[in-house]
Amino acid sequence: MIQRIFTLSLITIKESINKKVIYLSIFFAFIIILVSRIFTSITPGAEIAFMTDIGLVTISFLGGVVALFLASDFIPDEIRKRTIYTVLTYPVRRFEFILGKFLGISGVVLLSHSLMSLIFLAVLSLSGGAVKCDLMIALALIYGTLLIFSSIVIMGSTFLSPLINIVFSLFFYLLGHLVTYIRHLSERMEDVFTKILLIFFSYIVPDLERFEVKDKLVIDSALPIGITGDCFLYAGVYIVCVMMLAYVAFNEREV
């Protein structure tokens, strides 16, 4: 089983390497991070904070673009090109197929994330900024959100068309950054049905706010101890749940 999952993730990585979205994202990350260095003059005295802010937002956004465009099309593409016919007539369980795809995409996202992070850290160092442990944690947490996001997109791709999946996944991603707001809103609601609905929704969408440490870094405040462990534990549990849902949807799908 492990060999099959590994083989499927490897073929996903090989196929992704040919996709232009990865190279474009890395190129744009390079440009934006470089340009941010030029514009540090608009924030005198806080140049490094400005660069950190722009760098982390860029890496997070472009990493999301890579995850979205790769993951939203992989399973539909296998069905459209019918390569799935041959694969599923081999001793491959459908959950192995989904898991292989997820791990492959996670690998590609990690690769592009690492390259963008390296560019960012290099430019930051050249500008006199220190590469602190907290900054590395922030980058790791961004990867955590990208993993969650990829799993949602893959789940959507098992039953939605790529375009609808992109909308669906972005909706989840955006709401994931508004979990606290949704919970506050539910407390203010008088209508019981709406209240329950909002509470339910706040637990369904991923709590991406807990991964959000950029503001703390910018004001040079220390990150809470154990945040990485907490966040990755949360990400792990959330991804397992999403993958199970993806399996349920894909298992009943005709190809």
């Binding site: 073929i11 390569t83 799935i84 081999y90």
Partner: protein, 259 residues
Amino acid sequence: MPIIKTENLTKVYKDFWGRPKTRALSGLNLEIHKGEIFGLLGPNGSGKTTALKLMLGLIFPTTGNVSVMGKPPRDINLKSKIGFMPEESYLYRFLNASETLRFYGQLLGLKGKELNNRVDRVLNIVGLDRVRTQPLREYSKGMSRRMGLAQVLLKEPEICVLDEPTIGLDPIGAGEIKDIIQELKNKGTTVLFSTHILSEAEPLCDRIGILYEGRLIAMGALTDILEVKDEVEVVKTRETLEEFYIRTIKNRDTSHFSK
């Protein structure tokens, strides 16, 4: 015991809202026996591919049952015993022949020397050994079909399901594929293939079934069904498969219109 058995197998494709759209297959009762070559014949759109996909567990029946070696077609243990060559060779075009077979071999759980030996042997059989490092996107249609067959042979399967195996091939390429099919039979492999090219089926098949508008309208051993008998059941002449096919479908159409 039949190696593949369908009972009243029906497939209705539905639209987005779950309403019936197309009845692709209606009440198919079929038994395929171990070691035979069974040809599933019929014009385009008659339900041949749907029947094969149901037997492979790629799609699910609306009603009825299908069993392969006595098990449901999605049984994971069955999958290494059944080779499937789709209508077109749907393979990863960015890989070369060697990488493709290694990929499928790894899905079978093969590794090391065993994997290498089997890849080499299969590439030799299908005659792609010399172009093994060329990406599949650069292959001609004939080479792609051979590659499709290679991934079937890699499994050393007990059952081969081939969907229009020679479609789009030149006479030499088609002849080579027919030779491989015959060789599979000689080794005891059961071969089920669909085609609408009758000249292909006649020399190869032990038995045939004709599908028309999703229904099985004729089935039997070629030697039996091609014999034309008189009223007292004395053999008078022998039809060609083409004559039998046209007569059967025309009869079907006449009875259909008279209703």
